[in-house]
Amino acid sequence: MSDSLDQIFIRAKQWLLSWLSNAPDWLIQIASSLINIAALLGVFLTLFALISVLERKILGRMQNRYGPNRVGPFGLFQPVADGIKMLIKEDIVPARADKVVHFLAPILIAATAILALGIIPYGRNMTPFAIDGGILFFFAVGSTTELAVFMAGWGSNNKFSMLGAMRAIAQMISYELPLIITTFPVVMVVGALSPDAIVAAQNGYSFGVVPHWFVTTPWGAAAFILFFVSGLVESNRTPFDVPEGESEIVAGHMTEYSGFKYATFFMAEYIGMFAISGLAVTLFLGGWHAPIHGLEFIPSYVWFFGKLSILLFIYIWVRGTLPRTRIDQIMNFAWKFMLPMAFTCIIAAAVWHYAGRGVAGWLWSLAVLTLVYVILSILLDTRKKFATRTYRFAE
């Protein structure tokens, strides 16, 4: 019973493909890919619409007010209203802008964001495109985003856009290194770049209640935190949204875009968020595995999307809590703290593996991580030492 509920989407797809059973081979392949793509787009565009209203409601509740609650029950039809507004807005293109580059930039950003979603395993046997080097594909596509951001900034022929694009690219390149290096411990321990293999290596439970997810190991927890923070920066979310902060640089590289193109940028940012959260769930949180052995009857995709929702809630929570950081603070943090800690995670993972993967390994890798963390904290101490206060009174 639980197995059929788990595989219900796979069965539906096979039933759809059985209508084409007497077609040539390449047609069946194309139809299979199209069904995968349609399902992916359907699920994630709906999730995008839902998150765009839920984020505002959650932010509102954190700021002691209601979010949007006029359109539909509890305001849940707000995305429809937003969509209609974006579609009927006038599309303004600056007169001296580079028309081709200006037009292609939002398309390219959205395309690379959606491409990155294709290799994540959403459930048992439910990876849309299972490539052997899946993680490398994700990062290759993510690094193409920078070029598209530059196209947006340059194509607008606007100094604010150009400055915003340069800042965004500098931020994204700096944090791409910790993002990628924190995935190395996981790849090293599993021995494969394929997300399916990584999820399969996280099955099993100790004592029936502690799952073998990588986040339960010290290097995995540290790598997960670093990966999550790098993901926050890569998707230009507060507290790292200097490239699009309204009080600083108008809207950065998105300044000269109006209407539907702006909505495309917005959508690309959220889908980038989904992709990075999905990858974090796959790499560290066990993918579609259940946390306790007894709960395995719940379908695998429910667990995946549940974990994804928790990570998205943390994204929104951080946005509502922390103020924006300065660009030089962001860069310092990346190069002076996150990069050494990321390298330490690799060493800690190796120590965990070679000290046997039991309690001894856990304690040794925890010791390595704590040592490096303490050393870095002492070296990077930037608290100003204040002189003793002197009082001067008016005579």
Partner: protein, 162 residues
């Protein structure tokens, strides 16, 4: 191997490369350069070397193309080339192309179809890198470090000299 895919990728790559070589505006040439490299990566996928294709996209489009556009921005006095095609260069290029084509035609052993091949997994590449090719790997690591330090030194502003 799919011949329709081959034709499409070939047209895309060669058109983008031609655009990168001949467009007057530098930014357009740089962006077409990125498209040409995506086309070459697609060729690598077609030939069954997926890892190299992904590395190609990652390194060239994600890093080298971004570097080129940054440099274009930083050296912005003349973003247009004069646009006059120098005939000497064109003649040499056509002569080289003719020579290569003649060499390819003359070798009959080259008109073979693709044999069946076992898929080249990342695991195998990793294994080979760590056993047979470990010395080149270390040398490339040293080379990249030297290039990084060298580039930094080249562009660092001299603070001592006025």
């Amino acid at each position: 191997m799919n011949s329709a895919a081959f034709v499409v990728i070939a047209i895309l790559t060669l058109a983008a490369a031609l655009a990168a070589a001949s467009l007057p505006k530098l930014i357009h040439a740089a962006l077409n350069f990125a498209v040409a490299f995506i086309g070459v990566a697609a060729f690598f996928f077609l030939l069954g070397a997926e890892f190299v294709g992904l590395v190609q996209v990652f390194v060239y489009v994600g890093a080298v193309a971004v570097l080129i556009v940054f440099t274009i921005l930083l050296t912005r006095r003349d973003v247009q080339d004069t646009g006059k095609l120098s005939w000497g260069g064109a003649i040499i290029a056509i002569a080289v192309f003719g020579g290569l084509l003649w060499a390819i035609r003359k070798t009959p052993a080259l008109s073979i179809a693709a044999p069946q091949i076992e898929a080249l997994t990342v695991k195998r590449i990793g294994g080979v890198l760590m056993t047979d090719y470990v010395w080149p790997l270390q040398c490339v690591g040293l080379l990249l470090t030297a290039a990084l330090i060298g580039a930094l030194i080249l562009v660092m502003e001299d603070r001592e000299e006025g």
